[in-house]
């Protein structure tokens, strides 16, 4: 198993970040063209905890190296299953994702948490990302190791792009909501 993790901060309030999170893969994000569809499968609010649980199916265009694609059967799209939990009282968003495609060969589990920054909880948001990558294909340890390595490298490359893309969405959302004068975001910025 190999692990990728990073912690970073966004200069936006938790309310803005958690709202923009739903738009992360939309047209405002120039850096995630590999995400071709996002479908919501279910959405419920737990009456006892107030936690919003959402299940989504994320369809991605493959960009893995050719040797990995051939090893994994040559499909050009892959599917990710994501569940997210928003706890408005604790002000936290937790996103848990796993790969559905190639799950017999590779297990990728990612957890991302957005919560108010301890340095400036009203204006900044902390982002914690952790991914565990385990190759499951039997036999050759070298191949397994390489497959895990390539996947973790992909996470590293995507982390910078992901941040850049999400920054664009945050900025566009702020502008759009300023125009709409959404009360929650207006208050959140005071």
């Amino acid at each position: 198993m190999k692990i990728f993790q990073q912690n970073t901060e966004f200069d936006y309030s938790w309310e803005e970040v958690s709202t923009s999170n739903w738009r992360k893969y939309g047209p405002w994000n120039e850096s995630c063209k590999h995400v071709i569809a996002v479908d919501t499968l279910s959405r419920t609010v737990d009456p006892s905890t107030g936690i919003l649980r959402t299940e989504r199916l994320i369809t991605c265009k493959q960009s893995a190296p050719k040797w990995v694609l051939s090893l994994l059967g040559g499909q050009d799209t892959s599917l990710v299953y994501e569940t997210s939990y928003v706890d408005p009282s604790q002000r936290s968003v937790t996103l848990c994702s796993m790969n559905m495609t190639w799950s017999d060969l590779l297990n990728v589990r990612e957890t991302c948490i957005y919560s108010p920054s301890s340095s400036d909880p009203g204006k900044k948001t902390k982002f914690q990302q952790r991914a565990e990558v385990t190759a499951l294909c039997g036999g050759w340890a070298k191949i397994k190791n390489k497959l895990e390595e390539v996947t973790v490298e992909r996470f590293q490359q995507n982390a910078a792009k992901g941040r850049e893309g999400f920054e664009m969405v945050l900025e566009m959302s702020r502008r759009a909501f300023q125009e709409q004068k959404s009360p929650i975001l207006r208050e959140a910025r005071i």
């Binding site: 599917l79 299953y81 848990c96 796993m98 559905m100």
Partner: protein, 102 residues
Amino acid sequence: MSASLAPECNEVKERYDNCFLKWYSEKFLRGTATTDECDPLFKQYEKCLSVREPISLVRPTHHHQKVLKERGIDKMVKEAREDNRENDAEHMKPVSVPSSPS
């Protein structure tokens, strides 16, 4: 907003997504959400993806979804749901200690 994996559902999906986003930012985050007013739109969106089967009132999201079924995705979702139980248990649990202002 992002597209649907079923292009014929893009329009209803966009209407639902917009409704949800408004509800989320204006009501849910403010703690004033009493009902999910976007549910009728969600049902339409779900129906677009789904076979015309009576929707179970108990577990409305577990009926077979057409596009998903055609592509064998429904089985994969089922497996993913099973694999995700630990996450549900961890992240849906009630907060035992009341939050204190920090």
